[in-house]
Amino acid sequence: MFLCIRHDEAAALAALFTPWHELASPDTAIFDAARLERLLGSAEQIAQAVWEQSGRRASVALAAIPDAAVLAARNFAGISIIRDAAGELADLGLDRLPIEPDLLDTFDAWGVRTLGDLAALPENGLAGRLGDRALALQRLARGAIHRPLQIHKPPEVYEDSIALDHPIELLEPLLFLIARILNEQCARLMAHGLAASEVRVTLTLEDRSEYVRTLRLPAPMRDSRALLKLLQLDLEAHPPQAAMAAVLVALNPVEPRRVQHGLFLPQTPAPDRLELTLARIRGLVGERNVGVPELLDTHRPAPFHLCGRHAASAAFVCRPKLAPQMAFRYFQPLLAAKVELHNNRPARLTAPGIYGRVVTSAGPWRTSGDWWTLTPWNRDEWDVALNDGALYRIYAEPDGRWHVEGVYD
């Protein structure tokens, strides 16, 4: 006997009795009560228990087939026990079935308005006129559909927490706890054929506040040692400001990265190893100094920035015909310069480490922009060649200050 519950919290009610239940809709759950007889008693006793558990507000139905139980639970209040589905549900209107409006109109035009009317129609004629859809509905009306339950599995949550009796202040004992959680959760991920795309550590501090660090990984990983090292580097760079009373580690599960390697593709760094290496370098040189260069669509000087994300993967690249281009090197920090002018053109350049007579110059190239923002620019650029052969790009600001921006190299 299948037991169907119709209630706002049907899934939670069904889960109190068995984890093996089907969710026909968010408010309708079905399970096989016959399999629970040894544990919980007869199907009728279980139906009574479910009804009592719901505060006598749920509609509970028992039937030999799952769909008949669903129909009964959706249409009858209280506890319904359906022994003969075709007979007891015969008076229900056709609109109680999951039926398309056009089919319902057709049946209405034929004078077929109840499940009993539909069940009485000849199968061959119905199939010939309205096809498989109508035949499936007729089998439902006759209570003749036997199907296994589609067991509902709640989404797996890959997280765990540890509450401490005494708050800890040092990172090392915390890492022992995180390692324990990561080992378990990574083993679960491995068993389920998944990997983590994000790791979130939530530390409950002594003052009841929460400190959250989130690592977004460039490629899904499930190596607990690599994840632990990444977390260690991150927490060393951003330590919490108070002792920690509890720790929660949550992993975001995703499909692992599958790469089709090619015989002729060049070797690239392993993503997890590369991420670990870059995390170590970030700890050394700062977070904002490691990444991939990205060009910006602007006329502003130095139109690029460093993007933190990288995707190291070998790929066939459409190879353009390569030709050498003169490179430019920036001076950081900017070099303040003293420029002597002759006929409004640079004649002598003096800056830290740079001194010489200007042999040839090209300019001024007047550029300005972003005057509507807080960071406008306005400058006159010159390309100058000194008597020792070096080629620099210098510029003057409107207030007359000169700078050496860089060197052609």
Binding site: T277, V290, A327, F328, Q332
Partner: protein
């Protein structure tokens, strides 16, 4: 040409990145040796960065992941992209003038493995900082990339790795190329003289490199 042979030629795993120097017209010198250190030496405006950018362009356009360790934050991605470098394949590490950080970063990168080319830019470091670099670093780097496909290129003013380098390119600046009437000149390029100091006896070459300008 046999299609299979053409395919094999296109994806040949060569012991040296020959195209790098072919691109800039220096094919007679050979290529950047893989699994070894190359030094690109010269004063400012001698084309050191141009040669390094060509190396990055060739390696990244082959699909390899490259890295530039930028000691003095001098790298210009616009120039590199103009030379043909695929920026998404390039990892850029800025060290803010700290030579020690640059060396530690290179060490970590080389030991991670899998990189096609790693460029260490030491062109703007002072002479005192250059003299304080322990020589053991070069042996360590040479050992780390031995028997790997990685090219480690050093861009510098004076030779630093010396005996640990397999190729040393000595660059000298030739005349700059200016066009236009006097007083209205435009900077259009530069001449570069290249002579391999090690291995010796491969001749000397001179090339003209145009400058990209949106002006």
């Amino acid at each position: 040409m046999n299609p299979l042979a053409a395919f094999n030629a296109a994806f040949e795993v060569s012991p040296a990145l020959r195209e790098t120097l072919e691109v800039i017209g220096l094919e007679q010198i050979g290529g950047f040796p893989r699994g070894a250190i190359t030094e690109i030496i010269g004063p400012e405006s001698s084309g050191r960065t141009t040669v390094a950018n060509s190396l990055l362009a060739v390696a990244t356009s082959r699909g390899e992941t490259c890295c530039i360790v930028d000691t003095s934050e001098a790298f210009d991605p616009v120039s590199a992209a103009q030379a043909g470098a695929v920026l998404t394949q390039l990892i850029w590490i800025r060290c803010g003038g700290n030579v020690e950080h640059a060396f530690k970063a290179v060490d970590l990168i080389l030991h991670a493995g899998g990189f096609g080319a790693v460029v260490l830019d030491l062109a703007r470091i002072g002479e005192r900082a250059a003299n304080r670099i322990p020589i053991s670093y070069w042996y360590r780097f040479r050992r780390a990339i031995e028997n790997t496909p990685t090219v480690l290129a050093l861009v510098e003013r004076n030779a630093l790795a010396r005996s640990c380098a397999a190729l040393m390119l000595d660059l000298k600046r030739d005349a700059a190329n200016w066009r236009g009437a006097p007083g209205f000149e435009l900077f259009r390029g530069i001449g570069i003289g290249v002579a391999p100091r090690k291995p010796a006896g491969r001749g000397r070459a001179s090339i003209d490199v145009p400058v990209y300008s949106s002006r």
